[in-house]
């Protein structure tokens, strides 16, 4: 399937998880497809990077559930900052480990998972729906009950996949892509190359096969699909492009130029413009 086919199966108002971390191995071609689609009022769950920034800038986000939003080599995401400072989005800001726990709880069909992370902090003041739970054992410890974060859909980008939806990471970190996939009703995985199932294990050990076909609803081959975020070992972050992105975001006029140059056409138009 194509990015546009996958995004055509999404609906306004859905809760959508996006894999990767910061400006690393983000399913950017799927995010760009959302920018082209008439979707609105999304709840986005992410270890946020430019995926969050682009969706905020395009007015697609109603609520953001996150632990941070960062471009890694550039600490602050300009569109996320602008959206927050304009009060344009509702936010659920968690400790980043709480986010993991919410996804894991959803993946296991548990109502919550307990943790100490968040206790004593303003996570509790700012998210008054959160509840604590007391250990039923003799320690009696009071813990924060992180509610499950079930997703209508998850979008992830991996290095390789087969046509059935088994996907493989070849870089140093899976991040939380397996939890996003397992927490979601439907997961769409884009990948650098679709290969035969046998080629997956020829390329790397079994432990790299962490996204399995039972987790995925669709596979999209998307060469350079994580651009401009990193997709090690296939390619590093395009730092020059990321700097241009940040510079363009500083001013509405330069951002319109950036959009016109890169984002208004198809994915193949985008990739052509990047190569130009």
């Amino acid at each position: 399937m194509t990015e546009d086919d996958a995004v055509a199966q999404l609906r306004s108002g859905m809760t959508i998880g996006i894999g990767g971390w910061g400006s690393r191995r983000k399913p950017m071609s799927l995010v760009r497809a959302i920018l082209r689609a008439p979707l609105t009022d999304l709840t986005v769950v992410s270890y946020g990077g430019p995926d969050v920034g682009l969706l905020c800038a395009a007015g697609k986000v109603k609520r953001l559930i996150y632990g941070f939003v960062s471009l890694d080599s550039i600490p602050l995401e300009p569109h996320f900052q602008a959206a927050r400072q304009a009060g344009a989005i509702e936010v659920t800001e968690y400790d980043e480990g709480m986010l993991q726990w919410g996804l894991y709880a959803a993946a296991l069909r548990l109502p919550f998972l307990p943790t100490r992370a968040g206790l004593g902090s303003d996570v509790i003041r700012l998210n008054p729906e959160l509840r604590t739970v007391r250990s039923p054992y003799p320690d009696g410890e009071q813990l924060l009950a992180v509610p499950a974060l079930p997703l209508d859909a998850a979008l992830i980008h991996l290095n390789r996949a087969d046509a059935a939806g088994n996907a493989q990471f070849l870089g140093p970190d899976l991040y939380f892509d397996d939890l996003f996939a397992a927490a979601a009703e439907r997961t769409y995985v884009s990948c650098e190359r679709i290969v035969s199932t046998a080629e997956l294990t020829a390329a790397a050990g079994f432990a790299s096969l962490r996204i399995q076909r039972w987790m995925t609803a669709g596979v999209i081959e998307s060469h350079n699909g994580a651009h401009f975020t990193s997709c090690a070992p296939d390619y590093p972050r395009d730092e020059a492009f990321q700097r241009d992105y940040v510079a363009a975001a500083k001013d509405p006029a330069t951002w319109r130029e950036f959009e016109a140059r890169y984002l208004l056409g198809t994915e193949s138009d985008y990739q052509k413009a990047v190569r130009a």
Binding site: Q100, R116, G120, V123, P172
Partner: protein, 233 residues
Amino acid sequence: MACADAWRGDGEILASPFGTIPAIGARLARATFAPDLLLSDGEALLVGGTWAVGEPPAGPVEGWMPFRTVFDLAWAGRRHVMMIPSQIDRYGNVNISAIGDFGRPARALLGMRGAPGNTVCHRTSYWVPRHQPRVFVPRVDVVCGVGYDRGVGSVDLRRVVTNLGVLDFGGPDHAMRLVCVHPGVTVDEVIANTGFGLVIDGDIGQTRWPEADELRLIREVIDPRQARDREVP
């Protein structure tokens, strides 16, 4: 040196320094008096050896530590982080999320990151490259890192190192206390650049100078290109 001494006696735990000078400090500590520390390459690998800041590590990979495993170690208490606060108050509450009203901040920052969990689960220190009243505030706008006055007994804040001196939480009720000033800095300068009353307890000493072998390691091995001077001119 204060950023190296922060890890003294930590044993076999993960040292997670944020910023250039904390990274130099952690590598220097492991190369000298804290050999058991675990250090990451900044991505997902634990590496041995001593290498230069801004360069890929030369040492052998001794473990795989993706972010999920870092969270595990953090919650298990086997970690000492040195984070960079945007605001910090007298009892060590720290903000890295947003300046002003959270609902519509004057300036949106990173977000909570792991600060809430880190501060209630394991040792935490802070690094402030520019000690000023805008950072040392009477009350932080958003509590991300948990301080001593929030009713959580497991908070363990070790020290705050700045470009002016070293502080800890050894005052009454764990209030922030000046421990020492760096050579050439006066106590009055620290007081003038702190937006709340610091505990000043007796004579304030001076931060120690590096030993000859420590100086050599910094200059020749860990920071030959003087990245430290770009963080604190």
